[in-house]
C-alpha cells in the first residue's frame, strides 16, 4: 500500500510539471506575445495592458528565464492582478468559488443520488424493462447539449409555467429565513439540473455495466446460495465490487463539472468560476485565465490522486495492478 501511494505521488510530479508547461504555453499563444504573431491587430492589448503583460510574463526576456520566473510565481500561488479591476487574481477566484461549489455540490449530489440506485437496479436485471427504458433515456441525455437543455428548461419552467426564476443566485431583495432558503433552492434548481444530467448519465451507465458484470460472479452466487435475498446479494455483495474500480474515475468528474459550469453559469447568470473564466476570456484578462486554468488542473490532479489512493486502500486488486 505504502509503495502504491509513493508511486502515485512520484508520478504526480511530472504531471504537475506538465500542467505548468501547458499553462505557460497558453500564455504564449495569447495575442501580444511573441509567438502569436500579427494578424489580429484589434485583439492585441496596447499601451498599459501590453506593458503589464510584458512585465508579468517577462516577455522581453529569453524563454528559459521566462519559464523559471513563471514557475517560481506559480509555486507561490502568486497569480498576478486582474487586468480588469486590478485586484489580485486569488481574490477574484475566492469570491467566485463558493457559488461554483454550491452549484456543483448540488449537481453532484443530485446526479449520484439518482444515478447509483438506477445503475444498480438496471444492472441487476440486464435487458429488463427498467434497464431498456433507462438505457434509452440515459443515451438521449448523453447526446443532449447542455445549453440546449438549459434553454428548454428555462422556456418551460420559467417562461411558460412561471414556476422557477429565469436566472440569478437569489431574488433581489432576498427574503430572509425559510423563505430565503426556498428562494435559493428555486434559483439553484434549473442550473444544477443542467449540470447534473451529463454526470448522471455517465455514472449510471458505468454502475450499470459494473453491476451487470459482477452479478454473476461466484461470490454473489454463493451469497444467493446461502439464502441471501436478491436485493441483499445485489447491494452488499455485487455493489461494492462493482463500484470500487469506478472510484478512480471520480477525480475526472471535477474537470467535467467545471466545463459544464462555463456554459450553465453563463446562461443562468451565476457568478461562479465558470462565469469568471468566460468573462475573462472575453476581456482577455490573461492573469485570471491562467490562474484559473492552473488551479483547476492542479485541483483535478489532487482529486485524481485522492480517488486513486482511496480505491487502492479499499481494493487490493488496484494496489497489485491486477485490476483492469
Amino acid at each position: 500500500m505504502t509503495r502504491y501511494v509513493l508511486r502515485r505521488l512520484v508520478l504526480a510530479i511530472p504531471t504537475l510539471f506538465g500542467i505548468v508547461v501547458i499553462v505557460f504555453v497558453l500564455v504564449h499563444l495569447a495575442p501580444g506575445s511573441p509567438v502569436s504573431g500579427g494578424g489580429e491587430a484589434l485583439r492585441r492589448p496596447t499601451g498599459r495592458a501590453a506593458e503589464e503583460l510584458r512585465r508579468l510574463y517577462g516577455l522581453d526576456r529569453p524563454i528559459p528565464e521566462r519559464f523559471g520566473a513563471w514557475v517560481s510565481r506559480a509555486v507561490r500561488f502568486d497569480l498576478g492582478e486582474s487586468f480588469v479591476d486590478r485586484r489580485p487574481v486569488g481574490e477574484r477566484i475566492r469570491e467566485a468559488l463558493p457559488h461554483t461549489l454550491l452549484l456543483n455540490g448540488v449537481a453532484l449530489i443530485l446526479a449520484l443520488v439518482i444515478a447509483v440506485p438506477l445503475g444498480v437496479v438496471a444492472g441487476g436485471h440486464p435487458e429488463g424493462a427498467l434497464d431498456r427504458v433507462s438505457g434509452v433515456a440515459l443515451f438521449a441525455l448523453y447526446s443532449t447539449p447542455t445549453f440546449w437543455m438549459a434553454l428548454l428548461l428555462q422556456s418551460l419552467f420559467s417562461v411558460q409555467l412561471g414556476w422557477l426564476p429565469l436566472y440569478g443566485v437569489a431574488s433581489d431583495p432576498a427574503p430572509s429565513g425559510l423563505a430565503g432558503l426556498v428562494d435559493r433552492l428555486a434559483h439553484v434548481a434549473l442550473p444544477a439540473t443542467c449540470l447534473a444530467y451529463g454526470t448522471l448519465a455517465f455514472v449510471a451507465r458505468l454502475v450499470r455495466s459494473g453491476i451487470a458484470e459482477t452479478r454473476e460472479a461466484d461470490y454473489v452466487l454463493a451469497a444467493r446460495a446461502r439464502g441471501a435475498s436478491r436485493r441483499r446479494a445485489l447491494w452488499t455483495h455485487a455493489f461494492p465490487n462493482a463500484i470500487l474500480p469506478l472510484l478512480t474515475l471520480f477525480g475526472l468528474l471535477l474537470p467535467a463539472l467545471l466545463s459544464g459550469s462555463v456554459i450553465v453559469e453563463r446562461i443562468f447568470a451565476w457568478p461562479g468560476l465558470g462565469r469568471l473564466f468566460f468573462d475573462s476570456i472575453l476581456a482577455r484578462d490573461y492573469p485570471v485565465i491562467l490562474g484559473l486554468s492552473l488551479l483547476s488542473a492542479v485541483a483535478t490532479l489532487g482529486a485524481t490522486l485522492v480517488s486513486d489512493i482511496a480505491s487502492a486502500a479499499a481494493d487490493p486488486r488496484v494496489r497489485d495492478g491486477t485490476a483492469t
Partner: protein, 291 residues
C-alpha cells in the same frame, strides 16, 4: 514478458472482408443511425439550394412563430429558421468529422508509440495524456479558440487537440495487446522496421476499437463546435452553425421558443445518430460472431 493468448481473428481477415462483416453485424439501431447520418450528409450537400433564403433579412417578419410559410418560424432578423437550420448542417458535420480525425490521428500516434515502446516512453506519454485530462476541456477549448485567429482551421485544431487523450488510451491499450501476437512478432523477426509494423500490421488490427472511439469522437466534436459557437467564439457570421443560431435564443427566450427548439433538435438528432452508430459499431466489433 508473459505469454498472451493468441487470437486467431486478426490474421485471417483482410480489411475488405472485415469491413463488410462489421456492417453486416451492425444491430438494427446502428443501421438506422447510419441511415440518419447518411441522410444528414445528403441534406448538407443539398443545403446550398436554401442559402439565399437563409440569408434574406425581412425585418417586418422578425420573430414570426412557425407557420406554413416559415416551418420553424423566423429569427430576430426575420430570416427563415428552417433554411438556416438546414444551411448549418455542412459546417457542423464537416468540422465534427475533421476535428475527430485530427484527434484520432494525434491520439493514435501518441497511444501507439506509448504502447509499442513501453517503459520510459510509455511513462512519459501517459503523463502527457494525464496532463491534458486534468484541464477542464472547455477551458482549453475556449482559450485556444479565443486566442488564435478565428477560422475553421482554428476550430478544428482546438477541438482536435483537446479531444485526443481518449483515442490515445484506446490505441495504447490495443497496441499493447496486439504487439506480442504472432503476426507482429513474425513481422519483427522478418526485419520490418518499427514504423512499418505500426502502420501495416498494428494500425489495421487496432482499427475496429479505434473506429468506435472515432465515431463517439465525431459526436463529441460536433457538440464542442456548437458549444463554442453558442458562446460566441466559433466561426464569425455569415457562417451559419447550430450553436451560432442558438446563441441568440437566450435574448428571446420569453417570446420566441422556436429559436431555441429547432436548431437544438437538429444538433441533438445529429449527435444521437453518431453516438448510436458508435454504440452499434462497438457491438459489431466486439461481439463474437461467426468468423
Amino acid at each position: 514478458m508473459s505469454e498472451r493468448p493468441v487470437s486467431p481473428t486478426p490474421v485471417s481477415a483482410t480489411p475488405e472482408k472485415r469491413r463488410r462483416r462489421i456492417l453486416g453485424r451492425l444491430p438494427a439501431s446502428g443501421r438506422a443511425a447510419l441511415a440518419v447520418v447518411l441522410l444528414l450528409w445528403i441534406v448538407a450537400a443539398c443545403s446550398p439550394l436554401l442559402a439565399e433564403r437563409a440569408g434574406t433579412i425581412r425585418l417586418r417578419e422578425r420573430l414570426a412563430p412557425p407557420s406554413a410559410a416559415h416551418l420553424f418560424g423566423t429569427d430576430d432578423l426575420g430570416r427563415d429558421l428552417f433554411a438556416r437550420v438546414v444551411c448549418a448542417t455542412p459546417i457542423s458535420l464537416a468540422i465534427g468529422l475533421v476535428a475527430a480525425a485530427v484527434a484520432l490521428g494525434v491520439g493514435f500516434a501518441v497511444g501507439a508509440t506509448a504502447g509499442w515502446f513501453g517503459g520510459a516512453v510509455d511513462l512519459a506519454l501517459s503523463r502527457l495524456i494525464e496532463v491534458v485530462l486534468c484541464f477542464p476541456v472547455l477551458f482549453l477549448l475556449l482559450a485556444l479558440a479565443a486566442f488564435l485567429p478565428s477560422s475553421p482551421l482554428t476550430l478544428i485544431l482546438a477541438i482536435g487537440l483537446t479531444a485526443w487523450p481518449g483515442d490515445a488510451r484506446y490505441a495504447r491499450a490495443e497496441v499493447m495487446k496486439i504487439k506480442d501476437l504472432d503476426y507482429a512478432r513474425a513481422a519483427r523477426a522478418a526485419g520490418a522496421s518499427t514504423p512499418r509494423i505500426l502502420a501495416r500490421h498494428l494500425l489495421p488490427n487496432a482499427l475496429p476499437p479505434l473506429i468506435v472511439s472515432a465515431a463517439f469522437g465525431i459526436g463529441w466534436a460536433i457538440l464542442a463546435e456548437a458549444a463554442l459557437s453558442f458562446l460566441g467564439v466559433g466561426l464569425p457570421a455569415p457562417a451559419i452553425s447550430w450553436g451560432g443560431i442558438l446563441s441568440v435564443a437566450p435574448a428571446y427566450i420569453d417570446e420566441a421558443w422556436w429559436i431555441a427548439l429547432f436548431p437544438g433538435l437538429a444538433l441533438f438528432l445529429t449527435v444521437s445518430a453518431y453516438n448510436l452508430l458508435a454504440e452499434g459499431l462497438r457491438t459489431a466489433t466486439t461481439e463474437k460472431g461467426p468468423v
